[in-house]
Symmetry: C2
């Protein structure tokens, strides 16, 4: 497959919205015992449930290392395609390709440089070279030409688009010292426009409180459809999240999108704070260089971290009364889609949620 030296914008490509039709969904199989407790067995069970849920709506491919290949094949439903893809961890939203599309329906991949959410500054583990090859390997398997952004670091979870020219991101992440400190905000904006075919960037300030990704936008906001977004929200003024969400709300209320529209904003409540238990912390290997999982640490739990499938919404259940409220809001926001909740605590314990472990491939 070709590695292209132009940019998607120059070639007439744009990133579609997640709500546009998919060819299928990519997932990577979790295994590292210094991030996932008990040798990743509970996480693997949770990932299987996510794969099963999405498989109701569209084809699912799971990438897995050689070590875990047999186990993944044995654990996943028969209809899931399993391919060998080494990785340093299982966040294909972040290390996978961002697919772009042109008017003729051609699909290409953007293969961002990946440095484990901050490289040697504040990255979450070392090394990350296998992760950084994942996007290329997926494009090769799918016979898609790709653009590689050497010298520009980005994770797919740090951007959301409406597919009509607007991109949402956070300053906390994209202006962080561990990503692209050699570039200023304008240069970063220009690069996003070139590689995603967007015209306008709406910058939020910060993401979810204590989010180890430096505040990925996909944990605090999602695009329901052009002109409508969903924002993670709390009414509890004593929660450190309140100030963050309120600040973003103000920004969003004042913003217009690429088409000059004001945004409709749906507030999605947070669950009660979710803390790591002693037992959960005790099941994780301690490895120098990997972010530890300490008892009592607050997890970056949020319902907006769901996956939009063809005709479906696969969203996290977090064992809280808010689960029901979240589902009702999702049903209302996505009237044409069936909502499927999946118990997601084991995914959250690894540092992300359903949106983070999935990557749509547009049709």
């Amino acid at each position: 497959m070709k590695l292209l030296n132009t940019t998607p914008r120059k070639d007439g490509f744009r990133m579609p919205g997640e709500f546009e039709p998919h060819e299928g969904c990519w997932i990577l199989w979790p295994e590292r015992p210094d991030n996932w407790r008990l040798g990743a067995k509970p996480a693997q069970t949770a990932f299987v449930k996510v794969a099963e849920a999405i498989l109701q709506f569209e084809p699912v491919t799971v990438g897995v290392s050689a070590r875990q290949y047999d186990n993944a094949v044995a654990s996943l439903p028969a209809g899931v395609r399993v391919v060998e893809i080494s990785n340093d961890d299982s966040w294909v939203r972040d290390c996978g390709p961002t697919f772009v599309k042109n008017d003729a329906g051609v699909i290409r991949g953007v293969d961002w440089e990946f440095n484990a959410w901050g490289g040697l500054v504040d990255g979450l583990y070392f090394p990350w070279n296998q992760d950084d090859l994942v996007a290329h390997k997926i494009c090769e398997i799918e016979r898609k030409d790709s653009y590689r952004t050497d010298g520009f670091v980005l994770e797919g979870g740090s951007i959301h688009t409406d597919g009509e020219g607007t991109l949402f991101t956070t300053e906390e992440c994209l202006l962080s010292e561990g990503r692209n400190p050699h570039m200023n905000k304008e240069e970063i904006e220009e690069t996003l426009k070139e590689y995603l075919g967007v015209q306008k960037i709406i910058w939020l300030k910060r993401g979810i409180y204590n989010d180890e990704t430096n505040g990925h936008v996909d944990n605090i906001l999602c695009v329901v459809k052009p002109g409508t977004i969903m924002l993670a929200w709390t009414d509890d003024k004593n929660d450190p999240q309140y100030e963050i969400s309120a600040e973003n709300l103000k920004l969003l209320e004042d913003a217009t999108d690429a088409n000059g529209r004001k945004l409709e904003i749906i507030k999605m409540p947070l669950p009660r704070p979710v803390l790591i238990t002693k037992e959960e912390s005790g099941g994780v290997d301690a490895i120098e260089g990997t972010l530890p999982r300490m008892e009592g640490d607050r997890l970056a739990a949020s319902y907006v971290n769901f996956y939009i499938a063809n005709g479906g919404i696969v969203f996290p259940l977090l064992d809280d009364a808010t689960d029901k409220q979240a589902e009702e809001l999702l049903k209302k926001a996505f009237p044409g889609r069936k909502t499927v909740g999946v118990s997601a605590r084991e995914i959250l314990l690894g540092g992300g949620n359903i949106h983070c472990i999935t990557q749509q491939q547009p049709k």
Copy 2:
């Protein structure tokens, strides 16, 4: 993708001839230093040349372990697709799927049990579990349903078909103690008919002298087209190969194929005996359990071990005057195809040749 519990014959599938149109060609990247000298670098160069030659005619995909992924991408021509596939060695003819096809043009894979050419009886290395997953992984990447023959061991290099109901194989290999000692010849015939959709098996006795695969048919014979085969031949009665080839010639002259045709037989001369040099032997790691490469050992050199591509023949050059003779015979036998010779000594040193390191995927 589905694992089917029926058989290709029951489902109306048959193995096409190699000369029928291809979707593309599969190759695995060589790397094990206990089989390939000098850390497999000379072999990698030779494999690149084979990939380049085939790429003139049809798409090429190379499977490679995670360890060698970057190096393979950097070494191979840009047009080659590179996917991650762990393996114990690089003989995709033998561990890859045998593709079968039905009248509607549907392609499926036969995933034979693989045991490194003889398992614990006289296999060439241990373990072979990654090799045994290669066929499954290729079928998953290509989204092909497959048949798995647990309890029946076979390598793709031990069979050749005319695509019209006739299969060629050798007793030396298929009746060997290390393959299926629990089955008699009739049971093996029946299994071949079920999984390859053939009606008649033509059994040769032995393969090329000193061939470590227990005499794979693809090193001594190939099918040019239905009714015409090419047989490796020597006129030197003092060569131990003479008796083997003469015995097979008699069998073939007396045989009729599945359609009742007598066979036209083209004699392809062998090169002079090719022996391993001291330098070549010295470049190979000594590992208990892997067949050693000893100075002076005769290699199983044969020109019939070539690859038929769409519109092309990619054949081995063996630094002998016979190279030219081989090319002329191939040009005459395949008038519609362009012949491309590739220097193959480094492949031969690993125990096989161009046909052994390739696997066609029918269109």
